[in-house]
Point group: C2
């Protein structure tokens, strides 16, 4: 029996399987773990995929019941149902991956808007001789003038390399030109690369991009090493302010890790960091300031203002980032003290610089940044949503890592859980805690105020002491029960209340009803994997038609890559920063009322 090849995009894995194999099985054989809480029964809807090429078995009745009309019209299939009938290529949306594939580095490939920041210029220079004693720079400038580039200038950092490079390459060189400035001198025909990094408080996602084609040549992720000095933004600001040399330490550790990531990317793309001639880094305002070396004291004290909100560019070597000697780092504008350049990059990555539809876009984290864009007006705010969705402040909470319970279903009273990597459960990650709260609400085991009630075999104790056991000690990786308490539920209430209050205040400022939101964009790591249905169930998101929701993955990373290869995208970033109106929730007279209302479960 002949085998067919299944190509799994966007990660590019390939596998050969016999005819009739389900896509879920094919993916499992390729080592790609898809969400399959229901164990392949077609009822959890977790394994949604988009066929791109090839022939599959017709949609089953299960799929027709489980998939929305829109999904069906778009050709979406459940991987557990669709069988391979030919060579096939499928696209796996980010939310269908389980955690091991949850690389921060995934996310939509940015729409390539090539409008290059860097131009390659190839030169052949007459060598110095006793009859031609011009300096090296003079003769290179003359060659540039012949190419109609008389204004090209060399900074000191680049000029110091000129004599060596000219002689090592037989007086033939490729220059990387950034506007009027030469940022690198390379051997002839060298490929030129750029580095894009989403500098998250927790994770770093780095991309090496071919600056001529705009294509991503390599990706790599790492933890933000600053975590050792404080888990969240506030504790890092405190560390920077209170410890002698604290800010410098945080900067140095971050730059060190960025250099390691760069080396990893270069090895993967078989190039060297000398050919990396531009970088775009995006992060929240605190990550931005710590990276640049800007003070963060005023970010941590009322009225909480940024030192710099404008776009910045400066030589990478100034902070020790080991790109080409003359390469610049570009940092898009920050929007406010707690709405950073990563939010701008997210908007660009999701192509929301000037959307036609009324759009709400948010990136959920310890701080959740929200933009509401309506008829050319752009409001944004930041909500202190806390770290509950990162697993913190939750009794059995943990980060998304092997053994974390990430999917939960209570269908017909029967509890099903799925852990990352299918390991024995050891805790609950953000998407898991969100789902269990939603499932408990649906099963009426929780009331609108977050109190347990009703009966279920897993519900132990009563009143304030009640707890829901997700995994009994005998089944866990550490031999202790994994449980959800009233306190845990309250943490989720606080988080979702803050986010919903932010949404509601922005709607109020814009004079819009929630139903007028035509497009609801959820970005970022947690946002990629959260279950929208659950988020609506607990009232964190408004109850819009589901097709209005879009989970766009690490759009900030996509935006960073777009900014790397496009001056036009940099202009758009600038325009966003000039147009946006920041709404300080704490200053809003209705905030407390709205917040208290938003705390209740829907």
């Amino acid at each position: 029996m002949s085998n067919f090849e299944v190509i799994l995009q966007p990660i590019g894995r390939r596998v050969k399987v016999p005819v009739g194999t389900t896509l879920l099985t094919a993916a499992q054989q390729a080592g790609v773990d898809l969400v399959a809480v229901c164990g392949g029964e077609g009822v959890c809807g977790g394994c949604r995929v988009r066929p791109v090429e090839g022939q599959l078995s017709p949609a089953t009745l299960t799929e027709k019941a489980e998939l929305s009309g829109n999904d069906q019209a778009a050709g979406i299939r459940l991987a557990c149902q669709a069988e391979v009938l030919s060579d096939t290529r499928i696209d796996i949306p980010p939310e269908s991956f389980t955690a091991p594939q949850r690389l921060q580095v995934e996310g939509q490939e940015a729409v390539i808007d090539l409008n290059p920041v860097i131009l390659p210029v190839d030169l052949e220079i007459p060598p110095a001789s006793r009859q031609d004693l011009r300096s090296d720079l003079t003769r290179v400038k003359a060659a540039l003038a012949e190419k109609s580039l008389p204004g090209a200038c060399f900074s000191r950092r680049v000029a110091v390399d000129l004599p060596g490079k000219l002689r090592a390459n037989g007086w033939r060189i490729r220059l990387a030109l950034r506007g009027d400035e030469v940022v690198a001198i390379l051997p002839p025909e060298s490929r030129l690369y750029g580095l894009a990094v989403d500098v998250g408080t927790t994770k770093l996602a780095a991309y090496l991009v071919d600056l001529v084609s705009g294509e991503t040549a390599a990706k790599a992720g790492a933890m933000n090493p600053q975590i050792a000095y404080g888990e969240d933004v506030i504790s890092r600001i405190a560390y920077a302010n209170e410890q002698a040399g604290g800010a410098r330490t945080l900067q140095a550790r971050l730059v060190e890790t960025l250099n390691n990531l760069l080396a990893e990317l270069c090895a993967e793309a078989q190039t060297c960091c000398e050919r990396v001639v531009e970088a775009v880094l995006v992060g929240n305002t605190a990550m931005h300031h710590l990276l640049v070396g800007l003070p963060v004291r005023q970010l941590g004290e009322s009225p909480y203002v940024a030192a710099v909100s404008e776009a910045l560019q400066f030589p990478a070597r100034e902070i020790g980032l080991e790109l080409a000697p003359g390469a610049y780092i570009y940092l898009p504008p920050n929007l406010a003290g707690y709405v950073g350049a990563d939010h701008v990059a997210m908007l660009l990555g999701a192509e929301l610089a000037a959307p036609e539809k009324t759009t709400l876009a948010l990136d959920i984290g310890t701080n959740t940044e929200i933009s509401l864009i309506h008829q050319g007006k752009h409001l944004c705010c930041s909500c202190a949503s806390g770290p509950a969705f990162e697993g913190a402040h939750i009794r059995d909470g943990m980060r998304a890592a092997p053994g974390a319970i990430e999917r939960v279903r209570l269908s017909g009273g029967k509890l099903k859980i799925q852990t990352i990597n299918a390991q024995p459960p050891v805790g609950i990650c953000g998407s898991g805690i969100l789902e269990i709260v939603a499932e408990l609400r649906k099963a009426n085991l929780l009331d609108a105020r977050g109190a347990f009630g009703g009966e279920h075999p897993c519900l132990m104790g009563t009143g304030r002491g009640a707890e829901f056991v997700l995994a009994p000690a005998a089944e866990t990786g550490h031999g202790r029960d994994i449980k959800v308490s009233r306190a845990d539920v309250n943490e989720i209430q606080l988080a979702k209340g803050a986010i919903r209050a932010g949404i509601d205040i922005l709607l109020d400022q814009a004079g819009l009803l929630e139903t007028e939101i035509q497009s609801f964009i959820v970005a970022g790591a947690f946002g990629t994997y959260l279950d929208v249905e659950s988020a609506v169930t607990i009232g964190m998101f408004p109850n819009l038609p589901r097709e209005r929701f879009m989970q766009v993955g690490n759009a900030a990373g996509s935006g960073a890559r777009a900014l790397l290869v496009s001056t036009r995208q940099r202009q758009l970033a600038e325009e966003i920063s000039l147009r946006v109106a920041y709404v300080e929730l704490a200053n809003h007279p209705d905030f407390m009322n709205v917040y208290i209302r938003a705390l209740a479960f829907g």
Copy 2:
């Protein structure tokens, strides 16, 4: 009996003396050592001074015999003859100082051509508040826009200081603006300073200049610490090329000493280095390259070209120079591999950017750079004149330091010497060796080829072994004879031959006769103190009317100061570099003939 005050310029010393005191005695009481080889007999002509204000005794017969008609017409007096009859101010020309006053930092005060590179801008900024959450930079930019400076930008190095400076100064600041770039943020009404340094191979001369008035606020000198790694340019290039990290060591040691000089200057002017917001450094091409971090390998190998001849500017902090965080270093253009930016600065300092007269200007050192400017055409060359005038390669040679024989007279067969600081003699410095050769020639004790002959009590031995004893062992500081040998005379021949050949080749290229030189400018440390008469006697300089010679002191230092306060002077430097034609002596077909002819004593 009432005392009168004598003010000694340019060094600004003051002393009260009784009526009838000679100016020489007054100077000695003030601790200012004037040249007085003859011991105040009025016959050496060393103590020439220019009275500026006040009444002196009439010129003596001795003065009338000793001073030229021109000098007498110009009011020049001999300090040993003129007696103080009122409060008096005199100007001491550089050549009348003995070595202890031979500060490299003296020299004409540059004509102040204020055309500032740096502008102070005072701002008062509305503080951040809960009602006004703009970033610090945004509000400063708004204040600049109100002052019609909307384009002013901040580099990263400066922006990082903004939050602290705004808050420390109650939101009132003074910015130092360099074109469109803010280079420093200072307390309101701070004075702004610049640093000018003449980076010699041997000595550093540093000046702190008030950028608003253009006045020199402090001066300081130091040895170039690179001497420890090589006495001359060639040996330093070798060190940089052959030792691992050699170039970096040379750069680091120089920058360290510059930082020490800066601290000294700031202490003297009672300011701090944060207020030093611009620097101009001038040096020969090798000093320039080592300072900037440019490679010097191609400077040391045929065809001996500079890496960069264009003017350079870059942030001072990039090489560790501790000015204001955003301050720039400006380096004027180099003219060729061995005609550096210091030569350009010298021309500017002596106001020779576009002289009306046919002018020859030279700065004598191990390499002697010569410019010939005639009717808007400008030729220059570099001669390998060697270190003889710095005391090297001379048996009893030494640098100009206490105990060095610096003046020699053989009048009427009687030998008179004068040492620096009037210490017992320990050696002969450059001006001393030049004078003794000239005096020996005049006394017919040397022939045109440099062979000793004739009879004199100090002339010992015969033929190639003949030696002239300047100081017998019993009178010297170290108990050994101080002598001049045939080999020493030959070193001076080689040096003066190289210089004269350079002069003659330039004249030939320009189609001029030596008599057409209308102004003959001698700059630099040795050039300041050499005896023009002696230089003409041995044929190093052409025999022009003496009033055409001008010794201008450290004109490179004056030029550096002019470049610090004037964009116009920077344009002139640029124009010089574009106009100049460099003549490579080694390429000139007649060079060997001209050189051999120039070796002969006149």
